[in-house]
Symmetry: C2
Subunit: 163 residues, 2 copies
Amino acid sequence: MSEFVYKTIGIIRSPFKKPEGMPIQPSGANAVVGSVEIHPEYKDGLKDLDGFSHIILIYHFHESKGFSLQTIPFLDDKARGLFATRAPRRPNPIGISVVRLKKITDNVLEIENVDILDRTPLLDIKPFVPDFDVYENVKTGWLAKASKKVRQKKSDERFMTET
Amino acid sequence: MSEFVYKTIGIIRSPFKKPEGMPIQPSGANAVVGSVEIHPEYKDGLKDLDGFSHIILIYHFHESKGFSLQTIPFLDDKARGLFATRAPRRPNPIGISVVRLKKITDNVLEIENVDILDRTPLLDIKPFVPDFDVYENVKTGWLAKASKKVRQKKSDERFMTET
């Protein structure tokens, strides 16, 4: 078993129709509103989710093409190992974002802090649980200085090309 | 585009040969040591990762069979909407765990706090960056009381069956 086929379970809607100018992380997308439209056959799986203020969206970077094992990330000017970055061009172009969940109406989730391209295919939703997902005393390597810049830095076209 | 094919980029090794008795989250797996063997062709993507103390592993729940949209999770005795749980039986059986990175030697990562079954296929590695991934003032719904129990609670066989 070395290949897996995953299906879209919904579509993420956002104000970002193209990558240029997009926030590069949810923390750079403060108050940006979007939505998730879950395909109706999965709607019953949303029960109890409205008690959570934050959710983890797992999605497919549908505009990302190819990958390089070393890449110059948005927050730096040096090539870094791909797995030490959050760049979208990856062997498996899977994205994760923790977003704020505002409201669920039927099969539609209203979300906030959206750093995701419009019409991105959704693969999974999980509740964000600090007891599971958060550590203290964390070292963040090359991102230690750069990660604060995420609030200002915007995306560009670099991850749409094959080079 | 509604289906995506992902490839294994490595294998996660852990002391857990079967689901029964396994920790159900990294926070219940304190000091459990494991490793990640990255396939050699992806090794160059590991550059710079050794500066990070914690990494996000994205993997395929290879022992999980089928799914139900409502499920009784390990931490409760009531059926909950699947997307409000971290149960492994999901439409797309994708797992995520934040683990501690101890050391990288060649293409092998030594990791700690491993709540993952031995021989789990790895799909992606991302650096864990609190500025990107952590929120304060989080509400955790039905898990608010239960999530503390994660340190004691162990897995069983329930997610291996098709029912």
